[in-house]
């Protein structure tokens, strides 16, 4: 028999960025809030202790901060005609576990969004006509505009302590010649911190990009350019470019995380409780299936516990949000044959390409230094900043040098043709380790009818529940875009005058490779929108079918962005929290009438 606890006002599943933001907002509204985190407590101290944390073997290789796939994983197949098998080694993506979630181990690239990407289908139809969008491409509008979200982007940057350079503030040009991005939408205020300093490799990229007519700008980074105190009174130290961001706990308090930027303030309020090692199994619904009564979870001792609540927030990782909805019977599951149903629909990812340029020994790039959010980028081929008409694909890509530190085990890369071992490998490593520049086209990824999530009919997790099944593969549009971006980025690479370059892009016929890391930017599956027939949640991230369940996170994105998703995830969560505080709590019920 499950232990039934005393009811609380709100229960939050997962304590990453969205869980922490919701917890802060809802406790400010006076609610009694409990957050349930499946993993352990984690914090700068002791988990980020220097020098113990500077350990590539423990963190990157043995994946200390990531989901424990011996307990739950996903099954993966390329198409409905294949049999999905469990993913037994994390590779392509790295969901977090424990307090802070992926927000503790992320890099810190902190973008907003290109406004057209919020109305992707409408924009492409308006500019290129309905037929430009491939028949099986299921891109949609988010149902919310950049102007509506701007105050929330602004506040999130102040919470994160983001470093960057504005282009315009309230219509006034402020960023020309200083590293501002001319393609960036207008802002209500400047970044809370000035841009970080640029590494030498980023400076080389900047010079080369300018020489071929592009418009380089400083990456907005949630790694601090100086000490900072955020609106919650939480403090950050300055980033020292140690190069251990992605996959690590930052020992300098300089990478924004739920742990550094929000949790200290939550610890000061009596109406918040964080329960760790609490693995949520499902959202419980009443007999009408229209209202949630709380959640059930397995506690650290393996006991089943029911936590009743008036409001349920699903703040887990993208695919865990989708799985919880499917396991709980919230929303109609998506069916790729009919195109009907909404939960699991529009599962999208990232479409990345990388070029490495290798130099003589007199070009010192010092790749061992770096910061995860730092670099120089161009947006000339991002979003719809160029005419897609002649090229016949949908989507864009920022390109950048984002030197994040080359660590000793996996940080070596050599020119094409170098053997993978032996004395030639050693010589090449000695010759090139600190004389190379790596640049990426980050790449938007679109949603398609055949890429989706559902429950696996065969495989189950440690608790006896069906695993989530990913059906996913690259589509023609993805390959076209990737090849286009490689061609454009090559121009920048060549302008740097390297000895040689290596290109890592997609080729016609390439399939999704579960072992090859791109990014952890998985999107969709519980998408937001304006129509309950085509979206799982409304524009306030509220479930269409169960009004007291809200689902923030990249699971709400109808397709993948050119930019990194965290900035939009945070802004949408603040936007949703505002709607809960100002509308929902006064009159609980659907915020949008279907």
């Amino acid at each position: 028999m499950a232990t039934v606890l005393k009811k609380v006002d709100a229960v939050i599943v997962g304590f990453g960025w969205t869980g922490a933001i919701m917890a802060k907002e809802l406790t400010e509204a006076g609610l009694q809030v409990v957050a349930l985190e499946r993993g352990p407590m984690q914090d700068t101290y002791p988990d980020g202790n220097y020098p113990q944390v500077i350990d590539e073997l423990t963190y990157s290789v043995r994946k200390k901060l990531f989901q424990d796939i011996s307990k739950e994983t996903v099954t993966i197949r390329h198409s409905v005609n294949d049999v999905a098998l469990p993913n037994r080694q994390l590779g392509a993506f790295l969901p977090g576990k424990g307090v802070g979630g992926a927000g503790l181990h992320w890099s810190g690239v902190h973008f907003r969004v290109d406004p057209i990407e919020l109305r992707m289908r409408s924009h492409y139809e308006e500019r290129y006509g309905k037929h430009f969008i491939p028949k099986d491409m299921t891109i949609q509008d988010f149902g919310v505009t950049y102007e509506e979200l701007e105050p929330f982007f602004d506040f999130a940057e102040k919470v994160f302590g983001t470093s960057g350079q504005a282009w315009t503030v309230k219509g006034q040009l402020v960023g020309a010649g200083k590293g501002g991005n001319p393609y960036a939408p207008d802002r209500s205020s400047d970044f809370p911190l000035e841009s970080q300093k640029n590494t030498y490799s980023a400076q080389l990229f900047q010079k080369a990009a300018l020489s071929v007519g592009y418009k380089p700008y400083n990456l907005p980074s949630a790694n601090t350019s100086g000490p900072y105190t955020n609106p919650y009174g939480a403090q950050m130290g300055p980033c020292n470019f140690c190069g251990f961001c992605s996959g690590y706990v930052c020992y300098m308090y300089s990478k924004a995380s739920p742990n550094v930027n929000i949790l200290p303030a939550l610890r000061q309020v009596p109406n918040f409780e964080l329960r760790t090692n609490a693995h949520v199994l499902r959202v419980n619904l009443d007999s009408s299936k229209r209202k949630a009564t709380g959640v059930s979870y397995i506690d650290a001792q393996g006991r089943e516990v029911e936590q009743p609540a008036d409001l349920v927030i699903l703040g887990a990782f993208q695919f865990n949000n989708v799985r919880l909805m499917l396991l709980s019977g919230i929303g109609k599951p998506y069916d790729p044959k009919t195109g009907e149903g909404v939960v699991g629909k529009n599962f999208a990812y990232q479409n990345m390409a990388t070029i490495k340029a290798f130099f003589d020994k007199d070009t010192h790039t010092n790749n061992f230094i770096g910061a995860g959010g730092n670099g120089v980028a161009v947006d000339d081929f991002n979003a719809d900043n160029f005419d897609h008409g002649p090229h016949g694909f949908v989507g864009g890509s920022p390109m950048w040098v984002n030197q994040a530190g080359s660590r000793p085990i996996a940080g070596t890369s050599n020119p094409p043709g170098t053997p993978a071992w032996g004395s030639s490998w050693k010589k090449a490593t000695a010759d090139y380790y600190t004389h190379q520049v790596s640049m990426d086209a980050h790449g938007a990824h679109q949603s398609y009818r055949g890429n989706y999530l559902d429950l696996d009919p065969v495989y189950r997790d440690a608790y006896g529940l069906p695993l989530l099944r990913m059906t996913f593969d690259w589509q023609e549009n993805d390959i076209k875009m990737n090849r286009f971006m490689v061609e454009k980025m090559s121009k920048i690479a060549q302008a740097m005058n390297p000895k040689t370059i290596a290109v890592l892009g997609k080729k016609v016929g390439d399939h999704f490779n579960t072992a090859s890391y791109q990014t952890t930017h998985l999107n969709g599956g519980a998408i937001m929108g304006t129509d309950p027939k085509t979206s799982a949640i409304n524009r306030y991230l509220q479930c269409w079918d169960v009004h007291n369940v809200f689902v923030p996170g990249a699971s709400a994105f109808p397709q993948g962005l050119g930019y990194n998703p965290t900035g939009l995830v945070a802004a949408l969560t603040y936007w949703s929290a505002r709607a809960i505080r100002e509308q929902y709590l006064k009159n609980p019920g659907p915020l949008v009438q279907a």
């Binding site: 220097y50 939480a234 403090q235 130290g237 140690c242 200290p264 610890r267």
Partner: protein, 433 residues
């Protein structure tokens, strides 16, 4: 009673007029004053109920346990105001025997009658009663006899009288003196004690030894709070002090050791006006050293480190372990990573605190205004006695700092309970013989 209320109105300038009429307000004021006196710190056992006593305090003759001061029969429930006043200000318990001077009644002697009334109201009506019998001391006979305490009290406790500000004094400074010398009992830690354990001075007017720093207690020294630049507060501004007391951090330094609890449980609850009063009063104390001079930054070490020259002993240990936060120029980063250059903590005659913080590390307390618990990691496991001695000497003598060298044996003597260095034996690399 009416007389007392009138007296309260007249004496306690800080108490709003309505407070005297409202017991609730008086209880609230009493709670505030109990915070100012940090009563909870000593009168609560680790993990125990607030004010129920039972916290052991080491003294040279044995362990003394704090008493239950909740309004239960096992606590002070049966105390009249006079009983309460006699204990707090005079150091005489209800039974008539003298209290151990672990209770800072010599400082509390100057608390005003109105504040005593408020404190009494709070402890009788604002504190949850807890049934918990008091614990006897571990002091063996004949040292356990209480009558010598009466002699001590007669000799060293001052006459109970309300603090009178000198005519024409800055009222802010006077308020500060009242709080620091009275309820705050800052001198209990920060004033040196004589061999007979009494504080060498109980107020600024008595002696320049008042608040001039103490010998090590539980591994920390309570530093000089006077105007000395080298090891006192000469370089700190009034604003630095206010921020420090409120949040445990300022542009000049960060709290550690026993003072962390004081910030967390007491100082963060003080009003800005009272913190300013404390700060201004402390800033009014002249330096003990007649030749006191401001810190002169010397850029020689920073320049050498910039050139890659780590030949100065301790420099390489500093670069590898400390410089990421405290920087090669010793300037740190305001409010997050304290500057070491010119920092008085680094230049105290006795380096115990400094060695201890390198061994154990330290976390800032979370306060309402500054909730981040920035933590300096511990280095006991990683660095040898020689390395710690070298790096502590390095920071005490670089960037213009005027501290003296420390030795490996100084470090060794502080390696107690779990502060051992990790060795090959721990890692299974070599066998223990």
């Amino acid at each position: 009673m009416k007389k007392i209320i009138v007296a309260a109105l007249m004496l306690c300038a800080n108490l709003p007029a309505w407070a005297a009429e409202s017991t609730d307000a008086q209880i609230k004021q009493g709670e505030y004053l109990a915070r100012a006196g940090d009563c909870v710190a000593c009168h609560t056992a680790k993990g125990g109920k607030p004010f129920a006593g039972g916290l052991g305090m080491e003294t040279p003759i044995g362990t003394v346990y704090s008493t239950n001061i909740t309004p239960d029969a096992s606590g002070i429930g049966g105390y009249s105001f006079d009983d309460f006043d006699r204990a707090v200000r005079h150091g005489i318990g209800k039974s008539g025997s003298s209290l151990y001077p672990a209770m800072p009644f010599p400082s509390y002697a100057r608390v005003s009658p109105a504040d005593m009334q408020a404190l009494y109201a709070y402890f009788m009506k604002g504190v949850e009663p807890v049934e918990q019998p008091n614990k006897e001391t571990d002091i063996p006979w004949p040292l356990s006899m209480r009558w010598p305490l009466s002699i001590w009290r007669e000799l060293f406790a001052p006459k109970v009288e309300t603090h009178q500000a000198p005519v024409g004094a800055d009222p802010v400074v006077s308020r500060g003196a009242y709080l620091v010398e009275g309820l705050g009992h800052c001198g209990a830690c920060h004033t040196p004690r004589a061999i007979t354990m009494q504080e060498k001075a109980l107020s600024a007017s008595e002696s320049p030894l008042f608040l001039s720093g103490s010998a090590p207690l539980e591994g920390w020294i309570a530093k000089n709070l006077r105007g000395d630049h080298k090891d006192g507060l000469g370089s700190w501004s009034e604003d630095d002090l206010v921020l420090f007391l409120q949040t445990g951090r300022s542009d000049r330094g960060a709290v550690f050791g026993g003072m962390s609890d004081v910030v967390e449980h007491s100082m963060q609850y003080m009003t800005e006006a009272d913190l300013r009063a404390i700060a201004r009063y402390l800033k009014s104390l002249p330096p003990t050293d007649p030749d006191d001079k401001p810190h002169q930054y010397d850029k020689q070490v920073a320049d050498a480190l910039w050139r890659g020259d780590d030949s100065k002993p301790g420099a390489s240990v500093y670069i590898d372990n400390c410089a990421a936060c405290h920087r090669t120029d010793g300037q740190g980063y305001a409010r997050v990573f304290p500057a070491l250059a010119g920092n008085p903590v680094l230049q105290t005659e006795d380096a115990t605190s400094l060695i201890n913080i390198v061994l154990k590390g330290g976390s800032l307390p979370a306060t309402h205004a500054a909730p981040s618990t920035f933590t300096m990691p511990d280095f006991a496991w990683r660095l040898s006695d020689e390395q710690i001695a070298a790096v502590v000497t390095f920071i005490r003598t670089s960037w213009g700092n005027q501290g003296a060298a420390v030795t490996a044996s100084d470090v060794k003597s502080l390696r107690v309970d779990g502060l051992r260095q990790t060795t090959g034996v721990d890692l299974g690399l070599t066998s223990s013989k």
